[in-house]
């Protein structure tokens, strides 16, 4: 399955899938779509990436972040030092071979954490209703409409939770199965 055509195509399709999944999530309130199907489409992006490059590569690219740090040199002022740290960790990333003067920390986003965050969002979206003295999960919408996103409200929060939950679940399954 690891053909160069497939692998190259996936590089361009992955962001497309992700954007499409967000679009599906957002239009879900009044049209076909929503968190569940959005999460499934979003996970397709990563499933194809796993098929093309293997799960280790996918984890490295999307779910593992190397953060660099080092002690403040004498000549730098604190704001300068902060700025340098920020730049090295975001747009001005260091090359991947070992950097002697930088310490690095690996932050890993496990699918279980994605699932937990999703469940937490979904369950907490209902609490807002309780806080206002209404039954659990009573919906609440903001008055203002925001372009592209549309109206903001607790059902959208719930859907976003479902999105993350489904995404995390599929990722967990795909990573586990591709290791067999």
């Amino acid at each position: 399955m690891r053909t160069i055509i497939f692998a190259t195509t996936i590089r361009y399709l992955t962001p497309l899938f992700l954007i499409l999944s967000l679009y599906i999530l957002l239009r879900g309130h009044n049209h076909p779509g929503g968190g569940f199907i959005g999460g499934l489409i979003g996970s397709i992006a990563f499933v194809f990436h796993v098929l093309a490059h293997g799960s280790d590569r996918t984890v490295n690219v999307y779910f593992r972040l190397k953060l660099y740090s080092k002690g403040k040199p004498e000549e730098d002022t604190p704001p300068e030092h902060m700025w340098r740290l920020l730049s090295v960790n975001t747009w001005n990333r260091l090359p991947s071979y070992p950097q002697p003067e930088w310490r690095y920390h690996i932050v890993r986003l496990r699918p279980a954490y994605v699932m937990a965050t999703g469940l937490f969002l979904a369950a907490s979206s209902g609490l807002l209703g309780l806080l206002r003295g209404m039954p659990f999960m009573t919906s609440w919408w903001m008055e203002a409409e925001i372009p592209i996103i549309g109206a903001l409200g607790t059902p959208l929060l719930f859907d976003a939770g479902v999105y993350l939950l489904v995404l995390g679940m599929v990722l967990k399954m795909v990573f586990t199965m591709s290791k067999e």
């Binding site: 954490y113 369950a123 209902g126 003295g133 039954p135 659990f136 009573t138 919906s139």
Partner: protein, 508 residues
């Protein structure tokens, strides 16, 4: 506290507990602390709900503020709150036991989140006011049980889990068919609305209702392990570690019986002339087969597993007699049995941990080594068998009296006979495990886990706590008997339930 909050707390607390445990994945110390906090909170939520229900009879909330037949309804009456509190008590006990009684690998890899999610499922089953949601909550129970029973993945566990899941899938399929048929007959899934619909004598689909009830009796019969659908239970419950099986064995079949009682008093009342005699036969056979099966076993946990089945027969007996006293007896018996059965399982776990076996042939002489444990066991065992003045006695007394009043002499005779055999079975465990000297050939060769007094007391603590509750119920039975009677009254007179859930219909 508003009722809206009180009704969702038993669902939300375990959910948030499980989520926080997930956030601390593989750090079992944090998980342990969090799980403990949420266990206590769950119990407190149950107690608060029970207090509210005692005051108001029935409370309900409409999730999302959609009015009743259209939205999702949560409703609680005395029976559901009582089961919740009991589940909270044994949840706490099993949690305390797991601190020392479960290996660290299982605790690290998801025991606490799974246990909490299982408890959320139990709350859901008890509180739901909607037939389809009932099914969903039972699925949650099934999934959590599946994961918990197979947690650790030893060969015996996987075999037992496979049997458990296969037959329970079948039960779920039957339930789903029943729910679908119910919806096509009456066009509603809300329990309160259905309860009003099935009480309309002129409804054209009324004669078809008994078909649906058979689906539910079979489906929940499998989940509650009623004769002849119990074979999965002794095949799977003895395989996992006791900290897992004690909660599942203590609670889950009783949740099935609870649902049967709820549905056959709320919905399937049109064809009782056919169903009740059938249930009488089923109850008698369940009691008999369970206890006879137990007599043939030579394993501590397997004997207890078979006794679960025979005790389920008693609970079904109350439903089959169908008088207020009988239903109250059933409710009392469910509460008593959840506590006692969990306690006996925990004791078997302590013995098995020390001597690394639960086979009666290889055990012996525990009385000399651990007199305290022996006292705890004999009191629990007598309570299970129902000798006065233990809690089991009052349950059986209520059931027997109700049976005699209703003229079910054979059923009462069977139940008393089964009590004697239960006593015999408990005596057998007492003789083999505690009283007889340890077999000489084994005494030399086998391993005994060294005793650490502090650890041992941590294991005794939950058992002692549960036994305290059991003895309290036995000696001072009146409050629980009154509660059971109130629960039974609510079951037979449903107007407060339907009026609370459907206030508009009540006004019309």
């Amino acid at each position: 506290m508003p009722s809206d909050l009180l009704l969702v707390l038993p669902l939300l607390l375990p959910l948030y507990g499980a989520l926080l445990c997930l956030a601390f994945w593989q750090r079992e110390q944090w998980q342990t602390i969090l799980a403990g906090v949420f266990q206590v909170a769950w119990l407190v939520a149950g107690v608060l709900l029970l207090r509210r229900v005692l005051h108001l009879e029935v409370v309900s909330t409409q999730i999302g503020n959609w009015p009743a037949p259209f939205g999702i309804t949560l409703a609680a009456d005395v029976l559901s709150a009582l089961i919740l509190v009991t589940a909270g008590v044994i949840g706490l006990a099993v949690y305390l036991f797991s601190l020392q009684g479960l290996d660290i690998t299982r605790r690290r890899f998801g025991y606490y989140p799974l246990l909490l999610l299982l408890q959320m499922g139990v709350s859901g089953v008890c509180l739901t006011g909607d037939l389809f949601n009932l099914y969903v909550w039972f699925e949650l129970l099934l999934i959590c049980c599946f994961a918990l029973l197979s947690l650790g993945g030893t060969k015996g566990q996987l075999e037992g889990t496979f049997k458990y899941v296969t037959i329970n899938f079948l039960a779920s399929g039957l339930l789903l068919t029943g729910i679908g048929t119910m919806y096509s007959l009456y066009g509603s899934l809300n329990l309160a609305e259905l309860a009003l619909l099935v009480r309309q004598p002129e409804h054209p689909n009324l004669p078809l209702l008994s078909m649906v009830s058979v689906f539910f009796l079979t489906g929940f019969g499998i989940k509650a392990a009623i004769f002849p659908l119990f074979f999965w239970l002794p095949a799977s419950y003895h395989t996992p570690p006791v900290a897992i099986s004690a909660f599942i064995a203590g609670l889950l079949t009783k949740v099935g019986i609870y649902t049967l009682i709820r549905l056959f008093t709320l919905l399937f009342i049109s064809d009782l002339g056919f169903m009740l005699p059938l249930m009488v036969v089923l109850a008698a056979l369940t009691m008999l087969i369970g206890v006879v099966g137990a007599a043939a076993q030579t394993d501590f946990k397997k004997i207890l597993s078979f006794h679960i089945i025979s005790q389920i027969g008693y609970m079904l007996m109350g439903l089959a007699i169908y008088t207020p006293l009988a239903l109250a007896g059933s409710v009392f018996f469910i509460v008593h049995n959840i506590l006692v059965k969990t306690n006996l399982f925990l004791i078997s776990g302590i013995v098995a941990q020390r001597y690394r076996t639960s086979s009666l042939k290889r055990l012996g002489g525990v009385y000399l080594q651990q007199p305290m444990l022996s006292v705890l066991f004999i009191l629990s065992a007598l309570s299970l068998a129902g000798t006065p003045p233990s809690s089991g006695f009052w349950g059986k007394l209520m059931l027997a009296r109700a049976g005699l009043e209703a003229g079910q002499y054979v059923l009462v005779g069977v139940s008393l006979f089964v009590s004697i055999i239960t006593l015999f079975s408990m005596t057998k465990i007492w003789n083999e495990v505690f009283w007889k000297p340890r077999p000489v050939s084994i005494r030399k060769g086998s391993l005994v886990t060294p005793v650490n007094p502090l650890r041992l007391w941590q294991l005794y603590l939950p058992v002692t706590m549960l036994l305290g509750v059991i003895l309290l119920i036995g000696v001072y039975a009146r409050p629980l008997v009154r509660l059971s009677e109130r629960a039974a009254e609510r079951l037979l007179h449903i107007e407060p339930y339907t009026n609370t859930v459907l206030p508009k219909k009540a006004a019309n």
